[in-house]
């Protein structure tokens, strides 16, 4: 599904930023975030030239946008100069002269050639093969040009620093208009000297760049027009690089028709500049677009313009236009895949993205929604004519669209596509996949024949080595979504669970379902489809048992939880995060986990603490402690206290909230903000694990059952902590601050201020210390 989320911008309207030569539409925050799911990879075209322009939510399909184009032509330049010297100068020597040598070194080389016998210092120059060129005029023309180019370089290669404090350190040379004008004057004179058109073309390039940078757009265009014949002789990179500056100049003068035409020529003919030309192409009004179209000198040029429009705005319209111009055009393939991928936004949805309520016509997510019928008709028509360069693309596209339209002719189109693309594994597997999707679409859940027939193909999808770009993962997700819907409809909650959980949906924690899942796992005579479904379930028997046990544990049904854990080996073996029967004045779960306390050695120390090595031990200890209340009434207070600690520590606020964690359950509110949350800031009631009520009950029971003031003080303080936790989750909206003294702080102060423990609390607990020192 293609999602478009438009974000509202700064109130303030949307702006258009212009960066030299390249026009970037800057949308502020008013941008589109989108992602796409597809069964139709554009790579079926094996198109390389225009692969960057396959459909994608990103600026480019293959690569990311570049921040600098400065080095794009380095290799080509060396290659072209190599041809100029008929390969008599080594590439590395050319590279040194062109990109590394200082202007002074170029002068030295010139002197060396002119005054034979006088050699420059430095090995790089001494051994440079340009000095060995017999036709010294050829070498000198080159060196004079390079000297000139190096003087132009600071203007031509300057990359604008956007932040003032960056650019202040590095003065912008482009403000030096007189410097550029002097170079223009010098260049115009100097370019008459060389005998070779090749070098003259390069002077023209330098001059056009200077005109463009200094914003002399009229001069730039006039000079380009004057030198056009020269630039088109012995066509090389200069033809397109100069054309780029001319296009920029036209754009600067708002002559969009011509600017866009030139950009389209570069886009079509120059591999290196294709992407930047594409980004620069911006028709503004219908009039200038029509002007551009009228400038096209051939059907091919016209088709290129339509292709560019297709990439930017309207793939299907362009597809029709280009097909009308030339059915054999190689510009059709990319636009065909774009049109299909865009159309998929109407009917392909990712798992769970479309509810059955939204799609009531079908139990499936896909075939209930229709794509563009005009596109479907057109693709069928072209496929039928078989008059394109790659008919298989059209047959595959027609087959795919036919299938999505529940048109049974899809199989015939796919069969034709296979016969036309012999040995093309991506196309063949696409055809096979569409066949499988159709089978699943039409199959009946619970029908043994259907189930058995799809297993081999599902396994093929799952484990076979597929060609690159084959949409295995999306197909797999889609199929699981389809199957889970189908089994839900016939009331097979087990298979529904297998397939929906395979797509990362949460398991429904209903006891009856979990029991069924257990039985299904234990079932002896599974069919191959049963086994396949079970293989997709991301839960083992142990996981299912633990989910059930944890649900019982948090209903405080300790015995039942224990019995459940005993049903699977190794269930409940996770170690505790800290000692679940230990508590402190200030909670420090990580300290408990590390086995030490930052505070007094053993604030609630006890020699008869239950030993807990895992979750099962903890539950067993709770069972034992419950039993001990009756069996050992003498130590009732102490037992109540330990039970209270257990209840406290298994809650969100305790050191073993991880007891709740299983593959399907976890405590939310990990980032619970004690200073912020109130009843008004959450929509739903607080989950049960945020409640310390049970712990509080037991602290009060312990307090009542004891005669020791010290012990009572401890119980009372812990009750106060439970009371404070309640406050955190029920704070009135307008309450300022993060603490309110409750009933048990009052009791502590009134009744236990003479205990040692009271002094400890004053020392450790800032809230209480503040409260105790107040006059309340």
């Amino acid at each position: 599904m293609i999602k478009r989320i438009w974000k509202k911008s700064s109130l303030f309207p949307i702006s258009i930023g212009i960066v030299t030569g390249i026009i970037i539409l800057a949308c502020g925050d008013f941008g589109g975030d989108e992602f796409t799911h597809s069964f139709f990879p554009p790579e079926i075209t094996h198109e390389e030239k225009y692969a960057e322009f396959f459909y994608t939510p990103d600026p480019l399909y293959v690569s990311t946008r570049k921040s600098s184009y400065l080095e794009d032509f380095n290799e080509v330049n060396i290659e072209e100069w190599g041809s100029y010297f008929q390969k008599q100068v080594k590439d590395k020597d050319l590279e040194y002269i062109l990109y590394k040598a200082r202007a002074g070194e170029i002068d030295t080389l010139i002197f060396s050639i002119k005054k034979s016998g006088w050699y420059p210092t430095g090995n790089e120059l001494k051994s440079n093969t340009v000095l060995k060129i017999k036709d010294t005029r050829t070498a000198l023309d080159f060196l004079y040009y390079v000297g000139y180019a190096k003087r132009c370089e600071k203007y031509g290669t300057y990359e604008y620093q956007y932040w003032y404090d960056d650019r202040d350190k590095d003065k912008d040379p482009r403000k030096d208009i007189s410097g550029m004008n002097a170079l223009v004057a010098g260049g115009l004179k100097q370019m008459t000297n060389p005998k070779s058109d090749f070098i003259k073309q390069r002077y023209v390039f330098q001059l056009l760049r200077l005109y463009y940078i200094s914003k002399q757009y009229d001069n730039c265009i006039q000079f380009y027009t004057k030198q056009k014949t020269l630039l088109e002789t012995n066509s090389n990179s200069m033809k397109y690089r100069t054309m780029g500056y001319a296009a920029g100049a036209y754009y600067g003068l708002k002559q969009f028709g011509m600017a866009n035409y030139l950009y389209s020529v570069i886009y079509s003919d120059n591999d290196i500049m294709r992407v930047s030309a594409y980004f620069s192409f911006h028709p503004q009004e219908e009039k200038d677009w029509n002007q551009t179209l009228a400038m096209a000198k051939s059907p091919k040029e016209k088709a290129v313009l339509w292709q560019m429009l297709g990439i930017y705005h309207d793939s299907f319209r362009s597809l029709k236009e280009i097909y009308a111009i030339d059915p054999k055009s190689d510009l059709l393939s990319m636009l065909l895949t774009r049109s299909i991928n865009i159309d998929e936004g109407n009917f392909v949805f990712g798992p769970g993205e479309l509810t059955m309520q939204e799609n009531p016509d079908s139990t499936t997510n896909l075939t209930g929604m229709k794509g563009d019928q005009e596109l479907f008709r057109f693709v069928k028509e072209v496929a039928g004519k078989e008059n394109t360069t790659k008919p298989y693309e059209w047959n595959l596209a027609a087959g795919y669209l036919a299938w999505t339209n529940r048109d049974k002719s899809f199989a015939a189109y796919l069969s034709k596509a296979k016969s036309e693309a012999v040995g093309d594994t991506l196309v063949w597997e696409e055809c096979k996949l569409i066949g499988l999707l159709d089978k699943i679409d039409n199959g009946k859940a619970g029908n043994r024949k259907f189930e058995e027939s799809i297993v081999p193909e599902l396994i093929w999808l799952e484990v076979a080595k597929h060609p690159e770009h084959f949409p295995r993962d999306f197909a797999r997700q889609y199929i699981f979504d389809e199957l889970s819907d189908k089994y839900l409809l016939i009331g097979d909650s087990v298979k529904y669970t297998c397939f929906s959980c395979a797509n990362n949906k949460p398991i429904i924690q209903k006891l009856s379902l979990l029991n069924k899942m257990e039985q299904f796992i234990d079932k002896n005579n599974k069919t191959t489809f049963d086994q396949y479904a079970l293989n997709q379930l991301p839960y083992s028997k142990k996981d299912i048992v633990e989910i059930q046990a944890v649900n019982l544990l948090y209903k405080f049904r300790f015995k039942d939880a224990l019995a459940k854990l005993n049903e699977a080996d190794s269930a409940g073996n996770e170690p505790p995060y800290g000692d679940p029967f230990q508590v402190h004045i200030n909670d420090c779960h990580d300290c408990d986990n590390n086995g030490y306390s930052l505070y007094s050695a053993d604030e609630f120390g006890d020699t008869n603490m239950p030993e807990v090595n895992n979750r099962k031990d903890f539950i067993q200890a709770m069972v034992d402690l419950e039993g001990k209340i009756k069996s050992d009434p003498l130590h009732k207070a102490h037992t109540y206290f330990l039970l209270a600690n257990g209840y406290y520590n298994m809650s969100y606020f305790g050191n073993n909230r991880s007891f709740y964690d299983t593959k399907a359950t976890y405590m939310q509110y990990a980032g619970f903000d004690y200073k912020y949350y109130s009843n008004d800031t959450i929509n739903d009631p607080w989950p049960f694990y945020m409640d310390c009520g049970k712990a509080m009950d037991y602290y009060l029971k312990a307090m009542n059952a004891s005669n020791s003031s010290e012990f009572k003080a401890k119980c009372c303080f812990m009750a106060a902590k439970c009371e404070q936790n309640y406050f955190y989750t029920h704070r009135p909206k307008d309450f300022k601050g993060d603490f309110r003294a409750g009933k048990y702080f009052g009791i502590l102060k009134a009744n236990y201020s003479n205990t040692e423990y009271y002094k400890e609390i004053i020392k450790e607990c800032g809230y209480f210390s503040k409260y105790a020192n107040s006059n309340r």
Binding site: R4, F12, A26, R65, K66, Y162, P283, Q284, R317
Partner: protein, 349 residues
């Protein structure tokens, strides 16, 4: 007492009550009157100056630049920097405004916020210094999110310190949802807030629904204004735009659009009040229209703006503030006469 006498007395009482009620509802303290100036080239002709002075405008908020993320350069950069022409004088009080796109904050690591702040500060100082713009207040505009709040507030903290040391004020634009959910969205660490009393609804293609300003949306939020902890200036809309819609989805906006822009019947036909439908595919104002695309024109008329002003006045605390209009653009302002503007600036109807 005769019946007629009783009626007269009741009438007097009614009038007195009404006057008191109106006095309570509308702040009496004179506001500083201002405009946002949101064009990239700052140029005020003598005619502009006398127009502004005639309606007693003393302050202009100048869009200095945007701070945005540039995909191509992979950097946070300033764009759309203001350019001043040679006629600039300090006739008015000026408040530089910097818009920060959320993506720019998203892409800046928290520990680089100070560096970004320095860049922005130097940029503002450079533009102001190079053009002799004196200012006593700097404003930031950002529709911060949960994800960018911390970074944005750190940036504001940096500027708050810098501005206060320089004896200047720092303000930030506040959207209505940030007022209503202040606990959740946080209150920016600035001296004043500029409440944007518009763009509160969802931009959509529903005919008759004005997403720039409509009373129903405003009232959903407005009752929270009085309890907002920052002193508030207020910005009211005097602008319009055209919303471009394809198959029910908004595809873009054409700024500063008026109905005559869509009068070419070879391209558009009327689809109802303020609605235009394209009957073929074409380029138009840099955008591409497909057949059956819809354009919905939204404008804030003087009456609607007066209603917004009156509504805002009802909820704002009675204190001195700036009332500013967005934005200074003759296309729409020609519809407003002096009396309209006086009423709007006074937040009364």
């Amino acid at each position: 007492m005769s019946m007629s006498r009783r009626k007269y007395l009741n009438g007097c009482l009614f009038i007195v009550t009404l006057i008191i009620a109106v006095s309570c509802r509308h702040p009496r303290i004179n506001a500083d009157k201002a405009f946002y100036y949101w064009r990239s080239n700052f140029s005020l002709s003598e005619k502009d100056k006398s127009y502004l002075q005639n309606v007693a405008v003393s302050k202009l908020y100048l869009h200095f630049f945007d701070v945005s993320w540039n995909d191509e350069y992979n950097k946070v950069l300033p764009v759309d920097e203001i350019k001043f022409d040679s006629t600039f004088t300090n006739t008015f009080q000026y408040v530089p405004v910097v818009f920060i796109a959320n993506k720019a904050l998203d892409k800046t690591p928290l520990d680089s916020i100070d560096e970004l702040s320095r860049h922005i500060l130097n940029e503002v100082s450079h533009i102001a210094g190079a053009n002799n713009v004196n200012f006593k207040e700097l404003q930031f505009d950002c529709d911060w999110t949960d994800g960018t709040r911390r970074k944005y507030f750190d940036l504001l903290t940096y500027f708050h310190k810098e501005m206060n040391q320089a004896g200047k004020l720092l303000s930030a634009t506040i959207r209505l949802h940030q007022i209503k959910y202040a606990e959740k969205t946080g209150v920016p660490p600035v001296d004043r807030g500029m409440l944007m009393f518009y763009n509160m609804g969802k931009i959509n293609s529903v005919p008759g629904y004005n997403s720039i300003y409509n009373t129903r949306d405003a009232n959903n939020y407005a009752s929270h204004i009085a309890s907002y902890p920052l002193p508030l200036d207020i910005a009211l809309p005097v602008f319009g735009w055209a919303i471009c819609v394809r198959e029910g989805k908004v595809t873009g906006i054409i700024e500063k659009a008026v109905d005559k822009d869509f009068s070419d019947t070879s391209m558009f036909s009327s689809g109802g009040t303020d609605i235009f439908v394209s009957h073929k595919a074409f380029f138009f104002h840099g955008k591409y229209f497909m057949k059956n695309d819809t354009v919905k024109l939204e404008q804030v008329t003087p009456d609607l703006c007066k209603s917004a002003a009156e509504n805002a006045g009802r909820y704002l605390k009675d204190e001195r503030r700036t009332v500013t209009l967005f934005d200074y653009d003759s296309i729409y302002l020609t519809n407003y006469d002096k009396k309209d503007l006086e009423k709007i600036f006074s937040l009364s109807n």
